[in-house]
Symmetry: C2
Subunit: 299 residues, 2 copies
DNA sequence: GCCTGTGATGCCGTACGTGCATCACCCCGG
DNA sequence: CCGGGGTGATGCACGTACGGCATCACAGGC
């Protein structure tokens, strides 16, 4: 044996000793361990020699623990219990029963697809802890690149290298405007009607893709929009619209409960589109918990 | 292999895996473990097979932990640290550096020999915890028999089977009496002078040996004592003497600080004798800590 | 007194952990 | 583009030590 680092015995010795230390009977312990009695005697003797202390007092009728044996048993029992539990723990981990996943999302994702996904995942994998954090698309992309999050729900913004993506939501936006707005009484609007209306958008850096689609839609309609305010997160734009500071774009899904001072109107003709994408790194390969989450989220 | 109960791997596997899991490099880890690299590869592969999970992702330039590997490492490290500490712990125990000893004593022992012994033992063996409890001789003898205490300081009371004993103190008693007593002005007293003086003793059941020696001393002196009160522990007798309720016997050593209302007078002629004995069971053999204590106490 | 039951010991086969040599593969540099 | 250094994996042969079987030494009991 070249050297047994730090620990001069093996688990076998401890398991055997625990049995004898509890039963105080070599033959019965050997039977319980499914080995022959001499092997057990040898193993215990080896352990005693390894730790440099007598662990058992052998009398002719039975065995009793020495103080050293009591101390060792006291130390060994929890250690063995812990080690014995490891395979099951790992099994639970690789099967996706337990684990934790760091997930980022945008406000739109939380307003649309995310709640249903979370509910279903939690129902099927209650042992997996989710760390959820709202952050803009651009931040999610760098976090994914750095491995800080396992997956993200964001809004696509051109190509996403090193990522797998799955399109979860794609909705033509409508317009949210104050009920006091002259166009608020029409059932649908066209972009070109809104040339003079000031718009509340968000900083382009936060989701350049959508931002550019908004401008493209205006261009297609032949008008140039007036950008009055920028705000983030997008949902807060409702407050500005409500305050009469302008209109904003919104997907129908996120315009569900609205204050009475604002109105949501679909667009006919060109319209910007909101997209929610689930993205995760191509490598390393997702662990079991993440794989299960991705499967449910993509369903 | 007949069956490896509960735990499908050996400490060797865990030690090896910990090294690789920390260094993330097979060759360097093998060198640090003083084994060849192939042996390490095999051992880790065996562990992975045993726990049913890939623990390391082998890439061509280095190694990285899988989630399962991280979890296992997290579990294994404290376990190995605990197990590695065991030999030293046992060594400390058998060498008597640590441990604990249950000790019983009587008030007289605490008033005489015990403080010096405790001080010296604690100086030489600071890691040994002492559980001290005052209890009468008879209780100590049954506690020793039952193995409830490791040794006792008591007053011998006839033969003590199954015990080793060591006589630590043997003092002729004097008499403690109120200063108002007619005999208080004599420098020494004789028992026969005290025939009419009421005495405060203790229940005979608590130390029949001494009690009988008191009566024997009176008999030798040709008088019959008047037993007025019984009290326990003995030291409380001082209070009764101070209250003028009678006299009592006392060893010179325990009559050091006395209230001014009482006086201690040596006896000439027959006198009862106080004996303090250290006793401990003949078997089981004393452990290292107890042996060290006995050696110091007997010195 | 023998018989039963305890743990320890002698002997031997074999399984398995090990080292050496080599392989398969990839990155990197000329 | 091709070779050299470096990674971990694999084939093979050796030695050890673990385990089983048989037996020993010893104490208690109807």
């Amino acid at each position: 044996m070249p050297r047994e680092f730090q620990i001069p015995f093996e688990l076998r010795h401890l398991v055997y000793f625990r049995e004898v230390g509890q039963r105080l009977h070599f033959r019965k312990s050997a039977e319980a361990l499914a080995i022959a009695q001499p092997a057990l005697s040898r193993a215990v003797a080896q352990l005693e020699s390894a730790v440099g202390a007598r662990l058992l007092n052998r009398t002719r009728r039975g065995v009793e623990l020495t103080p050293a044996g009591r101390l060792l048993l006291e130390r060994v029992e929890p250690a063995l219990r812990g080690l014995a539990a490891i395979p099951a723990e790992l099994k639970a981990l690789v099967s996706g029963e337990v684990g934790h996943i760091r997930i980022a999302f945008t406000g739109l994702a939380m307003a649309t697809v995310l709640p249903g996904i979370l509910r279903e995942f939690h129902r099927r994998h209650p042992g997996v802890r989710l760390e959820l954090s709202e952050s803009p698309t651009a931040s999610q992309l760098t976090a994914l690149e750095a491995g800080e999050i396992a997956c993200g729900f964001f809004h696509p913004d051109g190509p996403t290298p090193h990522l797998h993506t799955r399109l979860l939501l794609r909705e033509r936006n409508g317009v949210l405007l104050p009920v006091s707005h002259p166009l608020a009484n029409r059932p649908t609007l066209r972009l070109r009607d809104l040339a003079d209306t000031p718009f509340v958008l968000f900083p382009r850096t936060h989701n350049a893709g959508f931002y550019d689609r908004v401008l493209a839609a205006f261009a297609t309609a032949g008008v140039t929009p007036r950008i009055a305010e920028e705000i983030w997160p997008r949902a807060n734009g409702v407050g500005l619209v409500r305050a009469g500071m302008g209109a904003t774009f919104m997907a129908p899904s996120e315009a569900r409960p609205l204050p009475s001072e604002v109105a949501f109107r679909p667009l006919s003709g060109p319209a910007p589109e909101s997209r929610v994408v689930l993205g995760w790194p191509q490598n390393p390969a997702p662990d079991a918990a993440l794989a299960a989450f991705l499967a449910i989220a993509s369903a």
